[in-house]
Amino acid sequence: MIELKNIFKWVNQGANKTFLLRDINLTINEGELISIMGPSGSGKSTLLNVIGMLDGFDEGEYSFMGNSVKGLKEKQRSQLYKEHIGFVFQAYHLIDELTVFENIETPLLYQDMKSSERKALVADVLDRFNIVGKKDLFPTQLSGGQQQLVGIARALIGKPKLLLADEPTGNLNSKQGEEIMELFKKLNKEDGVTIIQVTHSEKNAEYGSRIINLLDGRIEK
């Protein structure tokens, strides 16, 4: 599904290049649940952003579902991640001005879906995540765990093949974190969603089928 070959990414600081990613080679198949680990500044989030096409890279080859990402235009790239990728963030990133229902609905708006279809899909997801009662609340009225639940629901509404989660449990207590991880596991098993998560927690990393350790932008073997 994802194939990264000799990926380099750097920023210029004066005359020096500071490498964010060095020679990343990674193949991820459909249906995997992968955990990326590493200390702060090791390039975990950068790698995730590159995979999610939110960020570019300077050297190497990246093919996503058979498409070479490098040659794609901004529009085509966004079309690609719009269709196939869902994002979950540590800080949830819900839109404060919208209710739970509207937040979950938003991706569908950008896919020009009909109102009745949208309603049905959102209702379905709310049901599955057991948050029907919360649908008219605003994000600030929810606990962190609930907010992240909404965040995941929103990421999944477009039925993506790949879910990218950047420290999804980072702002949650351990019990809430556990629930989220159980949910990931379930999604991976039952719905076949490929999940890549960045985490600090050994325990949460264990949920993954594979753990990738990063240090200074390099994958540790």
Partner: protein, 799 residues
Amino acid sequence: MFKNYFKTAFRTLLRNKTYGIINIAGLSIGIAACLLLFMVIRYELSYDKFQPNYSNIYNIVTKDTYSDGVDYTPGVPYPALNAFRQDLPELKTGAIYCNYGCQVTITKNSTDTKFLEEMGVFFADPEFFEIFKCKWLIGSEKLLNVPNTISLTKKTAEKYFGEWKTAIGKYIKMDNLLTLQVSGILEDVPANTDFPIRMVGSFKTLQDNPVYGYSTEWGHTTSNFQVYTLLPNNITKKNIENQLRLLAKKYYKNQNGEERINELRALSDMHFDVAIGNLGTHTISRTSLTTLSFIGFLIILMACINFINLSTAQAVGRSKEVGVRKVLGGRRMQLFWQMLGETKIIVLIAASFALIIAQFATPYIKHVISIQEELSIFTLESMLFFILIIITVTLLAGIYPSLILSGFKPVIALKNKINSTTIGGISLRRGLVVVQFAISQILIIGTIVSVSQMNFIKTADLGFNKEATLLLYGSTDSVVLSKQNAFKESLLQIPGVKLVSYNSDAPSSDNNWGSNFAFDHKPDEKFSVFLKAVDENYYNTFGLEFIAGETYTKADSAKKVVINETLLNKLNIKNAHEALGKPIRTGGQKWKTICGVVKDFKTNSLRDEIKPIILFPNKMHYNKTAVKLHSANILQTQKAIQQQWEKFFPENVYAGFFMDELIEDFYQQETQMALLYKLFAGLAIFISCLGLYGLISFMAVQKTKEVGIRKVLGASVSSIVYLFSKEFTLLIGIAFLIAAPLAWYFMNEWLQSFVFRVNIGIGVFIVAILTSMCVAFIAVGYKAIRAAIANPVKSLRTE
């Protein structure tokens, strides 16, 4: 999708109440001001446009060229009318005589009802109404050939006789002189005309009654008698003016250095011709209209600048939303339209408030510029303009912030790495602030200068004493004249009355009674003098000072005259005493002796120069009575005077006005313009204050972290306030450097239209910059102190 956008917009608005209120307040005031100005300007531009021949109608004016200048009058000599008709047969030419006001007496069941008409009394010939279209409800313009008849407008007829149809055949008495039969009824003329006809007497009546000054002499010109002509489409103005030049050679005795010709003045210029004037209530210069439109533009510009500044300020707060929406699949264009849509919502809200504000302000504006007509903002034109403003403002205010916001890179936005530097455009915002400060300083300077000029005029030394002086308007028919002595005696019996003087004219007035004249048995001088007929008490009553000689006595009547300093100077006489005893005559009449020279007083408004004047006694012209009162119990004295008037002159309506009120009326237009400038400049300044406050708030957000760090490091409140004010002081300084010369230039130009004017002192500029500083510091102070005393723990916490 739009529902989602609207929701976001409304909720964002509710969340950021301060920004919302500043934006909506600024925009709604701005839009309302523009709408009102549009209404006023539109109205002024509409004068006489309803005339079907509007663009082909011309006024034949008289141009006199003297050795020392050019003088225009809108009138022509009476016999010129027939000359035009004979020599220019291809044109339709009509005449109108404006009598301004008159007294009308209606006798019903042998009781008299008197009406004082202050304006709208005209005489005209039938051709005039073939050029100017007017609907005749009864009769037609042919009636204007019938002697001793008058036609009334519907409203006037209703005022005099109740039902307009019953007015036909009834009689009205004008000025106790003429008895005229009502023979026609005209539809009321619209308010936006410079021919505010209320009644129009037949031309034949004017010709038959010498009281109105009709004369077959070529030498006599009055601005009251005006000739209008209708140019066919195939004849150009230039063509006719060439023919008029030939005509002048034939009829006027033009001598060397002095020349009289006729020129054409388009009807479409008459309402804006401040110099020559028109027969209506007022003129307004095109410059004033341009200035007003410009102020309107500045106001809306300021409101847009506010919006741009505040939106980019808010952008930091909204970056996360943009990031999320992009990650969820929103494209840049979609986000751009969303942001622009939000601008539109705010503009629409502001616009609805603007309509309400404008609706409530309309009566006030009407009062300020004294428009009587029903004015409404809800006309098709205003509404189109309104929609145009909404679209323009939305684009002007919305495009830049929307581009900025929709352009955020999602990764950066989501990591909260967006701050004011990544948004960019700091220099743009600074530039906008400078523009705003500069505009408000120009407006402050402009307002101060124009207001002080107005005050200067109002309080200027006119060279005579206008305090507690009552001017009674009367007439000069034989009945009145015969009673004048007795009336004067009875007035002097009233305890509050000091002095009484009969005269034709107050020292300062619009009146320009001019004549050719000769001095010291020489031929006629190359310039005209102006005349005032005044009795021997005039000088005491108005406190005029003699620099040589003294006034004539009652016995000297018709032999002696008094002249003013200006005439002396124009005659090149160095010592005033030399002039005493010298002979002088006007219009080829008998020679008279100069018995005194008065110190110059302002003969007209302060817009004009002081004119050479001859003051002479002549009972026949004494239509005004000046009464000097003791300053105590003025009201009581005035009442007593009125009683005497009604006792002596029962056939004349009492019309007494205080001199200072009359002088004030003189400058009504300036006062109105000053008020308009003050009002709208004030609004513009207010809007810029709002914007400034918003911008400082933006700075406070931007500097939150910096302030937090500084406080942790031990900075004091005052040093933080300084941190905030430093940059604004610089910006105000730059703005001042731009504003001061511009303002000086514009106001200096404007002042040139006054002969007597104030100097633009350095003080004005100091006031302008201090005002800007004060406004800035009040706004900065509040926000800065709040930022300074905030708990650094809060401002430094991330996530």
